[in-house]
Amino acid sequence: MTKINSICIIDDDPITVFGVRKMLSLVVDCDNISSFVNGKKAIDGIKEQLNENDSIPEIIFLDINMPIMDGWQFLEEFIALPVKENIRINIITSSIDAFDKDKWEHYQKRTDHLITYNHKPLFKKQIAEITKKTF
């Protein structure tokens, strides 16, 4: 099993969070899986980790439609953070709006972090793919 130090799930839907956690437990070895219910809480948490020189998540699962701060707003702030490592960010959404896909491509070009895009529902196979240390 791949060993990953820290994974973060950002989604306001508890069922999705439960599902992702469950699938992760089957495919990776990770002791530190955190989750946030919106972008605001997530970015605040990551900023705090950066300040305290804690390691920040290697993999982020990111929902788009969330209250307070949505996935895009989170990305906007995240890519501006002084993060040295390349982080893998997986957008998981139930949106089929072409507008969202355009936005994803836009962010891909703006950062060295690897951003991927998946539709819900997410399956174990995909989770395994995402967590392979190929980045």
Binding site: T16, G19, K22, N65, P67, I68, I96, K120
Partner: protein, 615 residues
Amino acid sequence: MPKGDHIDTNIHLIKQLPSATAFVNIDFEVVYASDKWMELYKLKRTEVVGKRIDYLFTDSNSDLADTLNDCLSKQVDKTFEEFNYDPTGKKWYEWSCNPWLDEQENVIGLILTTEDVTQQKLTETNLGRLRSKLEIISEIGKIGSWEYDIVEDKLIWCSVTKKIHEISDDFVPNIEDGIGFYKEGYSKNIISMAVHDAISGGSGWSEKLQIVTAKGNEIWVRSNGTPVYDDGKLIAIRGTFQDINDKVLTETKTKANEKLLHTLIDNLPLNIYIKDTESRKILVNKAESDYLGFSDPSELLGKSNSDLYDSDIAEQLNREDQTIMDTLVPMINKESSIRDKSGKTTTFLVSKIPLLDENGHANGLVGISHDISELKQKEEKLRNLVDVASLQNKKLVNFAHIVSHNLRSHTANFSMLLEFLIDEKSEEEKKNIIRMLTNASDNLMETLENLNEVVAINTNAGLEKKPTNLNKKIETVQQNLTAFLKSHNATIINDVEENVMVKVVPAYIESILMNFMTNAVKYKEPNRKPVVELSSGHQNGMTILSIKDNGLGIDLKKYGDKLFGMYKTFHQHKDSRGIGLYITKNQIEAMKGRVVVCSEVGKGTTFKIYFNDED
């Protein structure tokens, strides 16, 4: 007539004769000559007496001898003219040649009298020249003359007058003929009366009339007549007669052309005007004078832009006019909106073309303006319709995405949880998953209900709008919310005018008021008692309801575009579902109204609802 030898005794008498007279014998030798004769020819007596007279004048008159012979043999009086050159110029002399008889009536010679007729001759020549000139003028100008001798009842026409009547030169007209040529009706009546007046009252005339010529041609003539008096007695009427047919026809044609042009200009549905170099109007058609509010185009003549428009518009027009006249480049179909003095704005398609003088400089311009206001309004309406349609379309697409997104997120959860359930060994975890499945099912149910409600609002046009008293409605909602308001310590201030009526769907207005009022209290600032103020206003025929709170406020820069979106929430609040404002907005728009928001974080939020009274 002196005769015979008595001459000798009367020599001094002959010498003193008052006329230039010379006596010659049958051999044409000068016997006597009067001093006058000598003087006339500037000769001395010794040079003349005894000399043959024809020799004296051989230079100028070679056939003088023949004439004298003729006169002598036939014993008749003769008069001839002699042309002489004199140092002072041309001279004409008239010779009278009479036989000289003795007492027995025998011809003994000739008596020659010479008279200087130069003056007479010159006058005659001038007269002749004048006459021929007159004839030419008369011929070219087709001006004839006529005279009616009242005493003799005789009418005389000159040849030109006859030509105009198209009659032969030998035709002898009488006064009835003269009048008879005039065209029946107006022309004949006028001329009859004019002639009658002239004969009885002695006044003249000058009339433009029509005659029918002998060949049946109808032509226009100018007939003039002037009475002629002798010793205070009217003896004749004299006048001229001119063929003015070409002139009248040309004039008529010009007038017809002018009228055609005027009719055309006046009736074209375009504003047409000509301006001088100072932008003063020198020609205006009816449409332009109607537009500027003048009853007659002539009232506009000489008026400048500043006479007709407010100063800003006048300046703009002056600049435009000057540019065209300076550059000589015509302006074609420029769209311009012009405000008249009443404040009304009209949109025109304006063309202005410089008018050039013979030196190629502009001496004015001609303007053509086409009023396209109505077209513009239609265009505007059409654009609004397109906007509405595209907005509707956008809403529809948006809604489709909402539906797809919401259903997808639920079904995704279902399939994920079901997959877990199949592989799950632990009974405890199975129960947990089933609990979540039930939750997901409830959420899906609720989502479907919400979507149903939105669809109902957008499709249910059958709900009738009824005039509703806004103030009373607020009171009702306030009463229904009494418990909720009390538990939050909230104060509602209803400042809405008591008699304001709005046309609304009653069920919607209650839901709208309820939603805004509960939101205002729900998202209160924790350190303040919530106060909600409701007030009314009017704008462009719409009633505006303002709902102002002192709550948390919202960062519109961040969330403005999502505020009314479905399932968008902005506050960490347990009751936030992100559906209320979405439904409220749909209800307001279904009633053709709109809603706007302004807010300041930490101070509060104001929603303004615009009610549309149209059905």
